[in-house]
Symmetry: C2
Subunit: 134 residues, 2 copies
């Protein structure tokens, strides 16, 4: 079990919004949602997000410039997580894969590269949206 140094008010509010959301939220979308709780500036959101992402409680989707709560359905120590992002409906699936993880670690290691974080993001259409003709 990892320590969970309790969150400050701002961090907790941001995390709650992310958890309640059905998809990724941008920092500014979060800001708008949190105005009623006294948030007034982007930095309040960005600072909370920095803490949350460092703690692994939230993830940043680099290709979207948006954030999601961690789904938690993978090992606690897994810190290489992949995402499948539907370009139509915005739905995001989070998953971890040791083979992929090992393979990338390996490639990096063999070159003396010290990895700190890794982003893996698959863009496309989820099953439901792929069915639709458009």
């Amino acid at each position: 079990m990892a320590e969970s140094p309790k969150l400050t008010r701002n961090q907790r509010l941001v995390l709650e919004k992310l958890e309640a959301a059905s998809g990724p939220l941008s920092a500014y979308a979060l800001l708008d949602e949190l105005r009623e709780h006294g948030f007034r500036a982007p930095l309040q959101v960005y600072r909370a997000l920095r803490v949350l992402t460092n703690a692994g409680k939230a993830h940043r989707l680099e290709s979207l410039n948006a954030f999601v709560a961690c789904c938690g359905s993978h090992g606690e120590d897994t810190d290489m997580v992949a995402f499948a992002i539907c370009d139509d409906c915005g739905h995001v699936s989070e998953f971890a894969d040791d083979v992929v993880s090992d393979r990338l670690q390996n490639w990096a290691g063999s070159r003396g590269f010290e990895a700190s974080t890794t982003a893996i993001e698959i863009r496309g259409k989820c099953r439901d949206c792929a069915r639709v003709v458009n």
Copy 2:
């Protein structure tokens, strides 16, 4: 051999700058470099970049909001490419790995997810920078 429908002037200029660069360039850095060639607005760069990235001649680094020329040292048809990005010196290594690629395709396929593009970006320190004490 894939067709290579020749590039327009703007596209060629942008690609040349990317190829000449020692590291990733932002769209605005490209714009500044290309002002002497008549570029005046961000869109001129972004449009050229869209064509180049779609053609696989350049890549967008999502976690950096920047662009690099394709190194070309992987198979022509490989469209799942990974990057190791040094946070200290900015150096970027590009590589392709079929195991990783297959594994991700597989995960997606098993869920009916139709992948269109995938970003894999490892952030950290390259061998040279990892040696330094700081």
